[in-house]
Each structure stands twice: as C-alpha cells, then as structure tokens.
C-alpha cells in the first residue's frame, strides 16, 4: 500500500511510519509531499491537517492510528504517550523519555533525508517497544 505524509518528518511521522511497517503493512511505500494537494490519489494520507489519521481532539497522529486500527497493545499505548509528549509537549502525560526522543529525531532529521530517517528510526522504535514491553511485564524499569 502507498502512504503519504508531509516531507521533513519528525517524531510523530517517524513513529507512525514505524507502526505502519511493523503492525499494519510490512510492504508500505511512503510518499513525502510538501503540499497536501500533492497527495497521490492511491495513497493513504497521515499526519496532514484535516485527514482522518492525523491530530484530533488534542491527540497526535500516532494516537489516531491506534484508535483507527483498534490496536489495543498496551505497549503501543505506552509509546503513544512518549510520542505525544515528544511531539506536543503539552504535559498531558508524564513521559520523561519524550525530551530525549525529540532531540534524537530532530538531530537525525538535520543530517538525513526522510527515507533515511525512517530507516534509522525504525530500530530505535523497535528498541523502545522492547524496553517498554519488559517494563510493563516486570512492573518496573528493566535493567
């Protein structure tokens, strides 16, 4: 399937792309547009103003994906809080990891293009998933 989002990805779009490839569509193809008018007809848009898979009711696009596709995995909802705070920093959640994730991805976006950014961010989110999964199973931070 083809998915479209805004160019110059940051944390929310990188997290959504990771979620798509891992949980929804392993063969996902991403298109990056500068203007919503450039979204190809056969692509599903995300993290673009006024589309379904985007910010709604103060939630970020990653949260919209979890709702839309009924992904009830508690680890993903845990990551959603981190992505929400990294993207919006509105202190809705207590997610101290957010500041670090924000800086790491912001830095990557300064030295790499969108395709590279998504490939580099994927193992980062895989690791975050594993860490938060163990934390939830253990009931404390894993060592």
């Amino acid at each position: 399937m083809k998915w479209a989002t805004r160019a110059h990805c940051h944390v929310d779009r990188a997290a959504c792309a990771w979620l798509i490839r891992r949980f929804l569509d392993p063969d996902a193809e991403f298109v990056f547009v500068d203007d919503p008018d450039e979204i190809p007809d056969d692509a599903t848009p995300f993290d673009i103003a006024a589309v379904e898979l985007s910010h709604h009711s103060g939630e970020c696009s990653f949260e919209a994906f979890l709702r839309q596709f009924d992904l009830a995995d508690p680890v993903l909802w845990d990551i959603a809080q981190i992505v929400h705070e990294a993207d919006l920093a509105d202190e809705r959640y207590d997610a101290p990891e957010a500041a670090g994730l924000d800086v790491l991805l912001r830095g990557l976006s300064m030295i790499r293009g969108d395709d590279d950014l998504l490939s580099l961010a994927a193992p980062l989110f895989d690791g975050l998933y594993e860490y938060r999964k163990r934390a939830i199973l253990l009931g404390r931070e894993p060592s």
Binding site: A49, H55, D90
Partner: protein
Amino acid sequence: MLLAYRLPREPSTPRIAVWRKLRRLGGAQLLDGLVALPLDSRNREQLEWLAGEIIEAHGQATLWVGELASRAQERELVARMATTVASEYAALIADAEHALEQAPGSRRRSLARLRRELRRIRGRDYFPPPERERAQRAIDALAQVVEEVAP
C-alpha cells in the same frame, strides 16, 4: 506568524486548552483572538495543529505569515515578548532563592521542579533577556547547595 481565531464562549474547555497551548508556545496576544509567534518550522507546525483543533471545536482559525510595517513596531513587539519571559524568569529566581531556605528534602524536590520550569520557559524564550542567565545561575546555586548536603 499570526493565528487569528475565534472560539465559542461555551464550552470553556477547548478555549482554555487553546489558551494554555498558546501560552506554552510563548505567543504574544495582539488582540482578542490574534496571536503572534516568531516564524520557525516548529511554531508553524504547532500553530497548524492548533488551528485544526480550534476548527474541530466549532471555532474559526486562519494562519498568516506577516511582518510588521516598521522596525519600531517590531522592536516594540520583541521587547514585549522579552518582558513577558523576563517576568517568568524573575518568578523562578525568587522561587530558587526561597528554596535555599528549605529543608534538604524539599530543597531537592524544588530543584527538580524549578529545572523543569526553566526548561519550559527557555522553550518559549525567543528573545532572551538578561534574566535568562540570572535564572540559570540561581538554579546552579541551588543545585550546588543540594549537592553539598547530599549524603
């Protein structure tokens, strides 16, 4: 970057949420429903989402990229924004000085809270006033005292 918006009086929850977010970003309220922020990619994106949120809450919102017609007006706006954060830094400095008098336990907790607060203020400090440096020094001084009494 300008956000021109209008939201229904009731319900008040979205009005307050929008107001809080604009305050966190450090927006300068020019008129009722007209807010200015320096143009950068982060502010642009945050204002785009906020405009969407306002429209979802049955309000109206448009985003503008504008510039003031004279340098004097620009200086005035910059000074106004700097004054606002300067007063936030001043409150933080007072808190940090007050925390020096606290018992070691609460002093440590105050330090953590004030560090977070400093980070928040710096996030919306586009035209740093001298108070920024002073606030950092006040936190450093508090940190040193906390460190010294640590077991």
